[in-house]
Symmetry: C2
Subunit: 352 residues, 2 copies
């Protein structure tokens, strides 16, 4: 029997507030439209075909998936334009990538000649080339070529590789410094044009600086992920308010060993151990004074919890929404207190 | 096509070395038998009916599951004796617990009168009572009654409750101090006997002090979980060697942005963000000099990684094995380099 209201849902459970989802998606698309920026949402946050379709209906040019397995789920669900901004290596993955390429508009990325060579070998026999973006490290210190010179060298190699088409640049920028991202990208684009290469797409991403995405003037598209749900991290940085956050974890107080401490049935298996630099592992929406001091796998250990009672149900705003989606097989779609549906997280657990 | 050898497995993937599993299970059962201690392994680490059956075949008296959903999977697979050492609250869970009780030998726990009252109400109409252990906080500072007096009060209440049978005590002890655990439990047992209560079971747990479990002389059974796979945490504390660890994550180097840094395709979605107090997020078995300095969801960020090459495959020993089992839909069973089987992690993701 499907629960009619939130009070009927067994815990722990993920609640997705559909009204907030709609507001968050609309706000971002309106912003992007106002600035002539294309939106290519990253579905890693929700992993749901339902919301991918909604993002496209609102105006997104396509979606972003981090893994081939996620892209396969989304293509199966009818999404026709997917970027996989990941270095794809190995026979099995390349075979799957070819199969996807036959069905949808697909692009991938590379940050080394090794990756580009593998893609070229896999796609050289195909009718249409695979679009490949060069991943640029514009300051984050993760993947990506680290200089405009290396960008030109790799882009030139891709442009000359059988089976590949150089599609432009991709970066995941460090937060808080759009000017630096812009300087990096504009210098690289100038160098590429000087080398005779067309740069049709410059793709940046991230929710932390979503409202400043237009400051990266060279970017043609933006790939926000977390913006659909938002989370405690983005509340703490001031990017949004608690009232914008669409994903919460419903939990029950299962123990209250002393006056100060309480324990809920949401631990690292439901909230993840991600702190993202914050103190504590989430916040109780209706009890902001409570500290989620530690997590074991099935328990959240609270302090300053004198106001809570055993058996009471609480809503936890997690530090990091994306990882919570990956931990649950299903999510509950709600509007106010009403439960509208329970749907499988179709693209969760797709590690490859 | 099932991969024949580890070289054929796409990454990231969980590898379970069956020879090491067998050695770890046998070593613990031999130890327990030598000390007249019953073993009731916690299946949260492997979440696999295959290994639960093996643990029982080797001599375990039953298994431990942390959630009803895990117990349901194991009961369905034919496991007939399960302890759920968790405060079970709420109509839905109590209904499921009753259903389990009709099929298998079941015990639960409680650390408050609130939880005991809920269990009593649910089981008072049943033919046979539910066995309930009192959870004791012997020093860990998580769930559990915190004094022998509170133990007696709760046990007396359970013994008098319709539908319930007081089954004894349960604790998850703090590591490194079996003497303190023993002092706490023996005082509580003495107080219970003085109050006229029989204490058939005293259940302790944990892998960190597994080889010292016999020092808790009052305990009648022990619930180790991680001992089946072991992990970097237990290597670092000296509880085991790297050569005992049965679970590794196979990963591929996907980027090498500069001479020192490399990136693998195993991030927090495959290793979890658990540090367990260690520096770094795991270790590369064949490259102990490499530091897994940070994780994003789909990437592990390595430093001191000069010896690695893009496309190279590595085996990562995670900090915490249990949480990795929960993140993968399937695991690969291997012996040496040979892949014997790929099996679903049947009890993963059972949050309720």
């Amino acid at each position: 029997v499907r629960p009619a209201t939130i009070a009927d849902i067994d815990t722990p459970a993920v609640l997705i507030d559909l009204d907030r989802v709609e507001a968050n998606l609309t706000r971002a698309q309106t912003y992007a439209d106002a600035h002539g920026l294309k939106l290519r949402p990253h579905i890693k946050t929700h992993k749901l075909p339902l919301f991918a379709h909604r993002q496209i209906a609102l105006g997104a040019v396509g979606i972003t998936c981090q893994k081939i397995g996620e892209a396969e789920v989304m293509a199966q669900a009818g999404i026709g334009d997917i970027l996989i901004p990941y270095n794809i290596i190995g026979r099995d993955k390349l075979t799957r990538l070819r199969s996807l390429h036959e069905r949808i508009t697909l692009a991938a990325s590379a940050d080394s000649a090794f990756v580009a060579a593998g893609l070229s070998e896999a796609f050289s026999g195909m009718q249409s080339p695979l679009t490949v973006l060069v991943e640029c490290d514009t300051g984050m210190g993760r993947c990506g070529v680290t200089t405009p010179e290396a960008t030109v060298a790799l882009a030139t190699g891709i442009a000359r590789s059988p089976g590949l088409r150089f599609g432009g640049l991709m970066t995941y920028p460090a937060a808080g410094n759009p000017a630096r991202t812009e300087a990096w990208l504009s210098e690289a684009v100038a160098a590429l044009r000087q080398a005779g290469l067309d740069v049709p797409v410059v793709s940046s991403g991230g929710t932390p600086d979503l409202w400043r995405a237009h400051e990266v003037e060279t970017a043609t598209e933006h790939r926000p992920g977390t913006y659909i749900y938002l989370d405690r991290k983005h509340v703490e940085t001031g990017m949004c308010g608690i009232e914008d956050c669409a994903l919460t974890v419903l939990a029950t107080v299962v123990s209250h060993p002393d006056a100060d401490r309480a324990v809920i049935d949401a631990g690292s298996k439901t909230l993840s151990s991600d702190t993202l630099g914050l103190t504590g592992f989430g916040m109780l929406v209706d009890h902001p004074e409570v500290v989620i001091k530690g997590l074991s796998e099935e328990h959240g250990h609270l302090t300053n919890a004198g106001a809570l009672n055993i058996g009471e149900r609480v809503r936890v705003l997690p530090n990091h929404a994306c990882v919570v989606s990956n931990l649950f097989d299903v999510v509950h779609l709600v509007s106010g207190d009403e439960v509208l549906d329970i749907i499988p997280v179709a693209a969760r657990g797709r590690v490859g």
